[in-house]
């Protein structure tokens, strides 16, 4: 009994000691404290990044690897999954709906890169030239708003806007002489409508990226160019644009990645239709995995998607210059 009490007391004292001194280890032998304080500077970064990588490994890496694993099986429905090697991928190549989804997603990505991005840039230039600081603040806020709401809310807002007979868009266009356009009801218009929605959501944010880029340009370089006799256009093309390259790279990367992940808006507005006109690759993945319960095939689609995005991102980086650390 006396012994136990003694141990208790020392334990309490150790705790007290620990709080008074620097925050390191608890039960300390001199040696262990020494190791830590000698090695903590080396060990610390690993410990600091560890939580992210643990989560990443558990909830991103593992599912991705598992997904790859499943893609080699005929994992249809419940019951035994048979190993079939690359057959899912072979079927994929022969699947017209898969190619339709590639086409849809790529068209959307093209729209993002070649319509949305230049439009955002033009708007950024307009901001830059709009004369007063207050106006710029106001515009920045207003143009930013479309991007802060969730995909669910945005899609529901636009159900009422795209409706052929009772929608706001046609109500505005009709007096101008347009017919009742079947925005999300016709295969000819549906993808265009989704692109319009994408433009509505993202142009503002991208314009702000460009604006920040423009505002960060060192004025001296431009002045130097002008002193050298360059006119406005030349200065713009040969000095401003190249200096904006990092921003353009960023914007285009986001556009590509975002386009290939597009799911929520077409899913909620058109469910991939009509006639698969808005069937994106992620949607085709989702439908195969759930509605058709073909998990192996869905995983194969997923990997095809990763491949496409990987290749395009690589091309993008090469075109605009590699990511560089500061």
């Amino acid at each position: 009994m006396a012994e136990t009490r003694f141990l208790h007391e020392t334990w309490f004292l150790d705790l007290l000691y620990m709080q008074v001194s620097q925050p390191v280890t608890a039960t300390a032998t001199v040696q262990r404290v020494g190791w830590w304080s000698r090695h903590q500077r080396k060990a610390a970064p690993y410990i600091f990044v560890a939580p992210f990588f643990v989560l990443f490994a558990a909830f991103s890496l593992f599912p991705i690897v598992y997904s790859l694993y499943i893609s080699f099986f005929n994992a249809t429905g419940l019951g035994n999954w048979k190993f079939i090697g690359l057959q899912n991928y072979a079927s994929l190549l022969a699947d017209p709906r898969f190619w339709q989804s590639v086409k849809v997603t790529t068209l959307y990505a093209l729209g993002s890169v070649f319509i949305l991005t230049p439009l955002a840039f033009l708007i950024a230039l307009a901001f830059h030239a709009s004369a007063t600081r207050h106006l710029v603040s106001f515009y920045r806020a207003a143009y930013f708003i479309p991007s802060i709401t969730s995909a669910v809310v945005v899609s529901l807002m636009f159900v009422m806007i795209f409706d052929q007979d009772y929608g706001l868009l046609n109500a505005v266009l009709r007096p101008l002489g347009f017919p009742n356009i079947p925005w999300i009801r016709s295969a000819d218009w549906a993808l265009f409508s989704i692109m319009l929605l994408g433009i509505w959501i993202w142009t503002g944010v991208n314009a702000l990226y460009f604006l920040a880029g423009l505002q960060n340009l060192p004025g001296e370089v431009l002045e130097a160019a002008q002193i050298d006799g360059a006119n406005r256009r030349q200065a713009f093309l040969h000095v401003t644009l190249p200096m904006l390259r990092p921003v353009v790279l960023f914007v285009v990367s986001q556009a590509i990645i975002g386009s290939y992940s597009l799911f929520a808006q077409p899913w909620l507005l058109t469910k991939g239709g009509p006639e698969d006109a808005t069937l994106t690759m992620t949607m085709y993945l989702y439908i195969n995995g759930f509605s058709y319960f073909k998990l192996g095939y869905a995983s194969a689609i997923g990997y095809a998607l990763v491949l496409v995005v990987g290749v395009l991102s690589f091309v993008n980086f090469r075109l605009f210059g590699m990511f560089r650390e500061d």
Partner: protein, 430 residues
Amino acid sequence: MTVGAGVLAACAPAVAPSGQTTTGDAAPAAAATELTLWCFASNRAQWYTSLIPAFQESYGSNVTIKVEELPNEEMHNKIQTALVAGTGAPDMGDINIDLFGRFVKGDKVGFIPVNDLLGDDIQNLYERSALLPWSWQGQYYGIGNELNACLMYYRWDELEAAGITAPINTWEDYVAAGKQYVEATGKKWAAVPDLWWNYWYMFAAYDGGVFDTEGNVIFDNEAGKTVMQMLRDWVYTDEIAMLAPGGMIWAQPYYGAMAAGNFVTCFGAPWYQGFMKQNAPDLEGKWRMQPFPLWSSGAGAQTATHGGTGTCITEQTKDADAAWAFIKFCNLNNESVLQGFEMMNLFPTWKPAWEDERMRFEDPYFDNQKPAEFITAVAPEMPPLNNSPYWPEVTDAFNRLVVTPVMQDKQSVDDAMAAARAEADRIMQG
């Protein structure tokens, strides 16, 4: 299949799962058991909830039922993924007739067959509505409590004013009456969907359908083509119908047009009547019902089934006996089924319930006609609905490749059907 899951299970926190046994264990729990039931329709959720106290009185209060309402698509997704994972599925699930196919996709079905549990009670059910749609290879997996005998509904006041006699007996008469109506009033006679295939019952009524009893695809047989052509002609040749506003028959604009009187005939199951009443209440008393018209050759059936929900027991249930007891209590019991009728306007598949006085009611919405008369008259004729593991893909393909292009007049019926046939063949092979 659960290799990955096995690895994960090894990493799982050491918490004992709450008594999830496989179906082999039929021993009822002595302690309180909570069974979960997932549904996707709020009216059904309310119906189940209202039955729990009575159920506990009869079965015992050591079993409680927790009813969860989840969005339609996602609910089915979760159940199927949970079945793959081996854990996380509810004890019971309301499975939509349209989405049942996916569950019979593989070698194994994740639901408990109820053939033996039903025993002789099978005789007391309208099998074609209650059991067949949730069956595969002879095994019944779910009980549906909706006798969805479809009927035709018409605005008798409008027809009378235009000098048209009802009921209409043949499809030819239907079209003729339509033309007469359109000429007289300038409004449309019917509204047909182009984005979604709501009319599977019309195919079924004409000896068509999607699948036959062996699981072969038959939507492009003579019947299918005739019906599709007829629907298209209503819009473009006879000009008696408009394309359904909103593209499908359960879109809000469709009901708006109905309420405004822009079309005066429609078709549907009893649950469809519920929507009519809900969305066009001012038209009370102006509608009447009648069986489907037939073709003048005598072909066709006066009704078909459309839609439905079947309650299935998953293999992950903690207590299969209790789960079956609850399902039986809800669906094979006069009081419960009649309560469902009162709450949801769903006609029972449990034959004994039809003898109850309440079933002989007069419906003021339909000019005091007695729905029971019509439904019991046509129910025996109901064509079967053959489900299949490929139901989702094939109906998707049909919708995409036939319904939309044909109803939007972008393709001929023959061409569209050929494309759909090719796609269906590709699906069935892969």
